[in-house]
Subunit: 194 residues, 2 copies
């Protein structure tokens, strides 16, 4: 199988198109830092030196753009799960650490957590992408911790969305501390001592 995992049936793209797509990715990443993931389209277009139409051509919905920008980091986060499970002293410890990682990722992407669960249809691809990649990760960790008798069972999706929600509205200056809350939440999962 030739070049699997990286778009097998590539219908050949024009060089300028590829160049613009790349420019947009960088421009969007920069704009997201300044404005959050709701950065104005026109602003992104200007930064990339293209017209707004070009944004929509490459990324039909905002979710597509967001996914493209954060793809690597989401994958890294997902892949950390098995690694942590192998290297941690206990499954519960691995779970706690992974959640911490996830929280860190979300709170550094201003507005991502908000967008994550937006009911708007336009964000469905984003939602789907995150779930596709991160749900297996949490599930792995939760199953291991449950099997070890360390935590009570919980729907992985529920936990993932809950932690995602906790990260909404976080900012360096406020008293609000999602990291702590997420830790308390995971602590609340621990089995037995009632």
């Amino acid at each position: 199988m030739p070049a699997r995992d990286t778009d097998p049936p590539a219908p050949r793209k024009r060089a300028d198109a590829e160049r613009n797509k790349q420019a947009l990715l960088e421009a969007a990443a920069a704009a997201f830092v300044d404005f959050g993931v709701d950065a104005p389209v026109r602003d992104i277009a200007v930064r990339a030196g293209v017209g707004v139409g070009t944004i929509y051509r490459h990324f039909p919905s905002r979710a597509d753009l967001i996914v493209a920008v954060y793809r690597h980091q989401v994958q890294a986060c997902a892949q950390a799960a098995p690694a942590l499970l192998a290297s941690s002293p206990s499954p519960h410890h691995a779970l706690t650490t992974w959640i911490d990682l996830f929280v860190d990722f979300l709170i550094t992407k201003h507005g991502l957590a908000e967008a994550m669960h937006s009911d708007a249809a336009a964000f469905e691809p984003l939602h789907a992408y995150f779930l596709d990649h991160l749900l297996p990760a949490v599930t792995l960790l939760l199953d291991a911790a449950v099997d070890a008798g360390q935590i009570n069972p919980i729907d992985p999706l529920n936990l993932l969305q809950g932690v995602g929600n906790l990260c909404i509205g976080a900012s360096a200056d406020s008293r609000y501390n999602p990291r702590h809350l997420a830790a308390v939440l995971v602590r609340g999962l621990r089995a037995i001592p009632d």
Copy 2:
């Protein structure tokens, strides 16, 4: 003292103005049920049989309107705290029950939780109102539970916002279950058994 507790320096309002304000309150409440707290202004205006200008005259910001609509329920929620503390078998139990009450309130008001922590300046009054009324309530419960040695200390504001965040995106049809998550969170506060 004459008529304290109900606008002492009332500069006399025109009857029609008062009538419209009342109509708007009812229209908004209805619209909030159908569309959530982001209900279109024009829609609210139509329901109340007034022009949009009238909305802005009575409620300069959307937050003012939301506060006015939910004022009573927020107060009821706040007042439930001391009552629960008195009637519950333990402070931790009272806390759990109160959080449940708070969650119920939020998830039945579509979009309220989202609006609650919006960083937009227009929502500041809403934020302030909620905090003014509910922060004392949680603080009371938390202090009691801490004093009884049942939970580890936590910033009341942090907990309140966290639970508020958990309620975002809840809907009857989805798997997402904020009630359960909030319960797990409170469970994670319990002291000692480490």
